[in-house]
Structure formats: structure tokens, C-alpha cells
Amino acid sequence: MSSLAGKKLFPHKLLSAFMLGLWLLMNNTIAPGHWVLGFLLAWAIPFFTQSFWPQSMVLNRPLLALRFLLLVLWDILIANVQVAILIIGPRQKLSPAFMRIPLDLKQDFTITLLANTISLTPGTVTVDLQMEEGYLLVHGLNVDDIDQAIAGIKQRYEQPLKEIFECSNP
């Protein structure tokens, strides 16, 4: 598929693959006709809207990306159990806190991914993003040591994201 594609003809290969998958899922079939129609749509929509998508996404290390995805899914499961225990438990013991997480990431898409990951995982929600000063404002449900929590998030989520999307980029 990718060997046939010229550079301009397929501006966003990952987006195209995603759209094809979405089309097949939506129709709940793998009939050949839907493959053809889905392929046509997955080519046409990114092709005609490519001026709206200035940044092209590059997946540097697919294996690491898969590992990151599994890690995040596992963390979501753990996060839910932890938050459930916190919610049911005594509410006077909770110690909520706001944290400022300085950003090392540069691209919009990667920052979006990081913010969404933080929102989905243990007891933290991203509430604000300051691009000029370069930090994320995060609210934690039960934080004992603020600096340790910040370091944990940076090491666990930001580092892999940086390696996957940004390292060998420029």
C-alpha cells in the first residue's frame, strides 16, 4: 500500500489507516465492497483536506508505542480501582493539590496526547495548558508529595511519548 503511494497522494498514512478501520467498524462488516469504499474514503478525505493538517505525524518507534498503549490501558484499570477506593473511603482524609508540570514536549499533538493520558490515569486531571510559559496545570485527587508526583508523571508518560514522536524528528 505504502509503496504505491506518492508523497502528495497520501499525506497522512496513519490517519488513512485509522479512517479505514473506523469505516469497517462502523458498518460491522469485512465485505470486499466496504473495503473498496472505505479505502476510497480514507484516501479522499485526507487528500482533499491536507491543507488543514499542517503537521504530519511520524511514528518513530512503533513497538515502543504499542508498549506505551498497553501501559496506559493497564494504568487506566489500576487508576479506576484506586479512584473508586478513594471515593468510597472517608472523604476527610483526601488531600487534593494543584501541580504545575513543566513541559519538555514541543509538538501540539504530543502535548495533547500527554494531557489526555494524564486525565485518564491515577487520580489526576489536566485542567489547564499554558503554552507560553510551558506547563500543564494538573489537579490531583490525593497527593502526598507534589514533587515526587510530578517527577513520576514526567518519567512514566512524558519520556516514552517524547521518544515515540519527537526524538529523531528534526
Partner: protein, 120 residues
């Protein structure tokens, strides 16, 4: 449908329902807005996830062909739940809603700044 399949489906359904209930309970009983924000974004999303997996197994076993389109709902929710939590949180931050007294590091609390004084 065999008995084992029914047990698996029941497990997923009950687990999902419990998570949805816990999320709503958090929304109902926690003290300030920012703490309430945590319940719905996580627990409820996983609740729908459990329902979706149960539904996939149910229709796949019932009609003897793979039925995956419920996954779309889970995928969509996993993408949109953090986004809507972020924008609601941003609106709350903008209005400088009162926080629980124990909250550390309130962005507008210590260094005063804006016109609303007693936010606690």
C-alpha cells in the same frame, strides 16, 4: 449460549455497572468541584468500557459472527472524556471556583492577584 459465556458476560456487565455507580457516587458526595471532576472522567468511562465488552461477547456468541462495532463507542468515549473534562475544568478555573480548604497550591489562592478575595 453456554453457561460459561453467560458467566463471563455477567461479570463484565456487573463490573461496568459498579464502576459507573462509583463514578456517579463520587460526583454526588465529594466536596469541591475539582474533586468531583475525577469521578466521571475515569470511572464512568471504564463503566461503559465494561458494558461494551459484555455486549461484544453477547452478540458474537448469540449470532455466531464477530460483532465489533460497539468498540466505536468505547473508542469515542476514551478520546472525548479527557477533552470534555479539560474544558469543563478550564471553565471552572476561569471562574475561580472555591476550593476545599486542604487543597495545596491553589493557583489563585496564595498570591491573591484577581479581584475575588475569599475563595476558600
Amino acid at each position: 449460549m453456554s453457561f460459561a459465556t453467560e458467566v463471563v458476560i455477567s461479570l463484565f456487565l456487573l463490573l461496568g455497572a459498579c464502576f459507573a455507580l462509583v463514578g456517579s457516587l463520587g460526583l454526588a458526595r465529594l466536596q469541591d468541584f475539582f474533586m468531583r471532576l475525577h469521578g466521571p472522567t475515569k470511572a464512568t468511562t471504564l463503566g461503559v468500557g465494561g458494558m461494551v465488552i459484555g455486549s461484544i461477547i453477547f452478540f458474537t456468541a448469540g449470532e455466531h459472527e464477530l460483532s465489533l462495532h460497539e468498540l466505536l463507542i468505547a473508542l469515542f468515549l476514551f478520546i472525548t472524556a479527557p477533552v470534555s473534562a479539560h474544558i469543563v475544568g478550564k471553565a471552572a478555573l476561569h471562574r475561580q471556583l472555591p476550593c476545599e480548604v486542604r487543597t495545596k497550591n491553589v493557583p489563585w489562592g496564595n498570591d491573591g492577584g484577581k479581584d475575588s478575595v475569599d475563595t476558600n
